[in-house]
């Protein structure tokens, strides 16, 4: 039973909530980075050597970009298919640029050489640990301030 006499106004500590969301976002970004690093990207024809080698991640919290990482050190661009929306969302995109999807799924003339799915499956069992470690780092840094 809720004591109706003691009604107190709940004040949301928005700064703390933001830090928690950012910590989760750091965790998802770390998982994305682990997938990129675990992938063994085939450097195959017919699209030449070295087109699909480096991947990256992009992380959005509440529709705002909070993090990005690319193996080349450059700023990755948001994929067209990624819809960034919502105030309470945490989204991370992980991937490789064109023509990575053609290697993954194949074409009528070229057999599939999947590399992203095996990498994701390799990282999946460790995902909770990776997320915990990345989130703990952010929380510890926040508490130190």
């Amino acid at each position: 039973m809720v004591d109706r006499r003691k009604v107190s106004r709940v004040k949301m500590n928005r700064k703390s909530i933001d830090n928690v969301r950012l910590a989760i976002a750091d965790g998802t970004a770390a998982i994305g980075k682990a997938i990129i690093l675990a992938a063994d990207v085939p450097d195959a024809e017919p699209y030449g050597v070295g087109l699909v080698v480096e991947g990256g991640t992009l992380t959005y919290v509440g529709g705002k970009k909070v993090g990005s990482w690319h193996q080349s050190g450059e700023e990755p661009r948001k994929p067209k298919a990624m819809k960034v929306r919502g105030k309470d969302t945490i989204q991370t995109a992980t991937g490789w640029s064109f023509p990575a999807h053609l290697l993954e799924f194949g074409t009528v003339r070229m057999g599939a050489q999947p590399f992203a799915t095996p990498a994701r499956n390799e990282v999946e069992p460790r995902a909770a640990g990776i997320m915990r470690q990345a989130a703990a780092y952010r929380i510890a840094r926040t508490l130190r301030k």
């Binding site: 298919a81 023509p99 999807h101 053609l102 993954e104 799924f105 194949g106 074409t107 009528v108 003339r109 057999g111 599939a112 999947p114 799915t117 095996p118 499956n121």
Partner: protein, 165 residues
């Protein structure tokens, strides 16, 4: 010598293709043109070079609807004779984008959230799910409209039928 880790691993691809061909909606669109790994190649007489049988992948103006299933990954459980998540890339080719969408939706209806079934070879499928997909694209070689997706199948890697059955 027998045992769950020594028996030949069962591959669900053949069963999936058979199920897809048995689905009336899907078969009405594809006429049996669902393949594993690559499209049906064109058959040419080696002496006369006459085309005996045209393949699935044709040029503009001659497109045919077909599906190619490609194995993305098949991780197995380290102790149990089951696959954790065998995933197939589903490449749905159509005459037009609308046709490709119809093929994709028919495939999704046939396999999404379909529960337990046992196949004649003893393969046990716990369930199949469409995990992602629906993005439109064109094939890089023939420019044929295509919709890609991913099918996940949880299955046994050895026969679930009793010995001698």
């Amino acid at each position: 010598m027998t045992g769950i880790l020594i028996d030949t691993q069962l591959d669900p691809l053949g069963s999936i293709i058979a199920e897809a061909r048995a689905d009336t909606d899907l078969d009405a669109l594809l006429d049996g043109r669902i393949r594993g790994g690559e499209p049906k190649p064109r058959r040419v007489d080696p002496t006369t070079l006459a085309v005996l049988e045209e393949g699935d992948a044709l040029g503009p103006g001659h497109y045919k609807a077909f599906i190619v299933l490609t194995l993305l990954d098949a991780p197995v459980h380290p102790q149990l004779p089951i696959s954790l998540a065998t995933e197939y890339g589903v490449n749905c080719y159509g005459v037009t984008f609308q046709n490709a969408t119809e093929v994709w939706l028919a495939f999704r209806r046939a396999f999404h959230k379909v529960r337990t079934r046992t196949k004649a070879n003893g393969l046990g499928i716990y369930g199949s799910t469409i995990v992602t997909g629906g993005s439109q694209d064109r094939d890089q070689d023939t420019k044929q409209p295509i919709i890609r997706g991913v099918l996940r199948v949880l299955h046994t890697t050895s026969s679930v039928l009793p010995p001698g059955s």
